[in-house]
């Protein structure tokens, strides 16, 4: 089962390759398992997407390059029906 990491997808806007920042403060244990090339699931309150982990040597930051064909909307609270991509 892929590692699930909570992210803020707004961080894509500051990356030239539209990668998502993985904040180590949010999931310190899970972050220790990361390595370049690992396929993970990035998610927030509304959607999730598969991504390939990369490490930015310059900024020493973990990033996720999403595969947007694998995006899936998550069910809203109180709604059991997931809205698909």
């Amino acid at each position: 089962m892929a590692v699930r990491l909570y992210v803020d997808f707004n961080t894509m806007a500051m990356d030239p390759k539209a990668r998502v920042s993985i904040n180590p403060h949010m999931q310190p244990v899970l972050t220790q398992e990361l390595h370049p090339g690992l396929v993970v699931t990035l998610y927030d309150e509304e959607m999730e997407v598969e991504a390939v982990v990369e490490f930015d040597e310059h900024d020493h930051t973990w990033l996720g390059q999403p595969n947007w064909s694998m995006r899936r909307d998550l069910p809203l609270p109180g709604n059991n029906d997931a809205r698909s991509a």
């Binding site: 909570y6 803020d8 997808f9 707004n10 961080t11 990356d15 030239p16 539209a18 920042s21 509304e46």
Partner: protein
């Protein structure tokens, strides 16, 4: 702000405005005291804040009997982690208790009590410095305020300096998004979370520029963000930064403290994403 440097200033505010008023003179990072001299801080229906740093001699806190914002906000704020900004009533001391006033007839529900200040007959006994007996009557012109607010709302609905983010701006999401901005040299660096912001642009234009993939967007204004930061005891600013669309960074401490994250999250409202991006 139109107030000449060095002027004597009476800071007065209701509810959140009173929270801001209590913080302005005591937070040196805001630079307020370097420009103006505060002769009074007068609050109406505001939780107690920074009272151990704000001298009693210049503070007047008015509270309508039963106003839940005054009587309960400190308790609940402390419960959820606002310990740095509030002092629970039981340690605030008698001298720091508010000046209790009657809200007048017809206000029995909690919200009504919190909004009763303009109609309080008791307030008419206080002057502009919040003293009693006073030489000048302190009276809030609520009718004028409402008219102005209505005019402002109608005339500037599409021109407000909107701040837009993709998704639901929960405190957790703001904390997850707060980081060092990549590509900005350190020092000084740039720390904060990403937003789309450009005065004069509509919410739809900002949402389209952000290419948000979330079903919802979160919207606020620059003034609301800054005010929420001040109310929480932090200096918050919005600066232009490298990125897609009208990318800006809301500068906050790293990591983002929970009390500030909660305060900033609270000023965002959610609406359907009018320009959802579903491309590759």
């Amino acid at each position: 702000m139109g107030v000449p440097p060095g002027a004597n200033v009476i800071l007065a505010g209701h509810s959140l405005g009173g929270m801001v008023a209590q913080n302005l003179p005591v937070l040196p990072e805001l630079g307020y005291n370097q420009r103006w001299k505060t002769v009074r801080v007068i609050t109406f229906g505001s939780p107690i804040m920074n009272q151990l740093r704000l001298p009693d001699s210049i503070t007047r806190r008015f509270a309508v009997w039963g106003d839940p914002v005054v009587t309960q906000a400190s308790y609940w704020a402390a419960k959820i982690g606002f310990k740095s900004m509030f002092f629970p009533p039981d340690i605030s001391g008698w001298s720091r208790k508010p000046i209790w006033i009657d809200g007048g007839p017809g206000f029995l529900d909690p919200i009504g009590l919190h909004l009763a200040y303009p109609n309080s007959f008791d307030l008419k006994g206080y002057d502009a410095l919040g003293d009693q007996p006073g030489s000048q009557v302190l009276q809030l012109d609520a009718a004028h305020e409402r008219q102005w607010a209505t005019d402002f709302s109608q005339s500037t609905a599409n021109e407000r300096p909107w701040v837009v983010r993709g998704g639901v701006a929960t405190s957790k999401q703001l904390q997850a998004g707060t980081a060092k901005h990549r590509g900005v040299p350190d020092p000084p660096g740039l720390y904060g979370f990403s937003v789309q912001y450009q005065p004069g642009k509509t919410i739809q234009e900002l949402a389209a520029a952000g290419k948000f993939r979330n079903p919802q967007i979160s919207v606020t204004t620059d003034a609301a963000l800054v005010a929420a930061g001040v109310a929480a005891g932090y200096a918050v600013s919005i600066v232009k930064s490298p990125g897609a669309g009208y990318h800006h960074t809301v500068q906050v401490p790293l990591p983002l403290p929970l009390d500030l994250a909660v305060a900033l999250s609270a000023v965002f409202t959610q609406e359907e994403n009018p320009a959802r991006f579903l491309g590759p």
